[in-house]
Symmetry: C2
Subunit: 130 residues, 2 copies
Amino acid sequence: MTERPALSKGEIEVARVLWDLKHATVREVYAAFPNSRGIDFTTVQTYLRRLEKKGYVNAKLDGRTRVYTPRVKPRTVIRETVDDLVDRLFAGETFPLMQHLIEDRNVSQEDLDALKILLEQLTEARHESE
Amino acid sequence: MTERPALSKGEIEVARVLWDLKHATVREVYAAFPNSRGIDFTTVQTYLRRLEKKGYVNAKLDGRTRVYTPRVKPRTVIRETVDDLVDRLFAGETFPLMQHLIEDRNVSQEDLDALKILLEQLTEARHESE
DNA sequence: TTGACTGAATTACAAATGTAATTAGACTTT
DNA sequence: AAAGTCTAATTACATTTGTAATTCAGTCAA
């Protein structure tokens, strides 16, 4: 089963950076944060260690420095995280979330158009595989 | 400012029940949980107390029993919670989340159609107000 | 070789969270 | 009125999370 403990907010932030970098040391992850974030080097270090313990990243020693690489794909984490949110906030229903996103946020016209295209494609794909 | 502390997962669960009931005692909220949830009466009690402290619900004494009522609307909590998720997981971009919802989940054809209509409506509304 | 310096590992710690045990107050029944 | 019983309030506590201080191990300049 998927029994990985869920990620905390801070852990997700760090995981995202690591997905971008593909593999990186603590220092590199730390450097990738904008200064405005005001996060401490050792805090990043802690998050990476916890990500490793939770099974989300691998670490191998290069000299005396640990190099981290993602172990779980973004898509998987996204799915699990969004699942959880949808369960808690919408009793498992996806539609209300989409409705909220479309109606209560400022979606640009470009995004709206892109969405329409997505929907069309999906509808067509379904008809084909019938 | 919106400076209410964010809700935890458990707190959201309880808040949702209270939104449904409009106003309720601890016992009523507790009763509204399915048995399968396996949550303790006193746990619900704790969550309600914390929701009150955080400013999400009001409580008034009826005899010696506390009756809770929502103080913050679902829509507001949803907005804040989803904002937070989108920030953490998608760097604030709404589109990737919608894309995920549409592509990586099993959206029914009815939902797809409903979405298209939503999109159309929004597009029209925009053209009018130009 | 000995401090000073650099960078990484280890340890720390308060606050938040999930979960519930314990205590206390009011109502009932002998 | 004492004992038992409900129900609600108070207190407790381990775990997780956010955040970082502290320690330790090489390296370099004096």
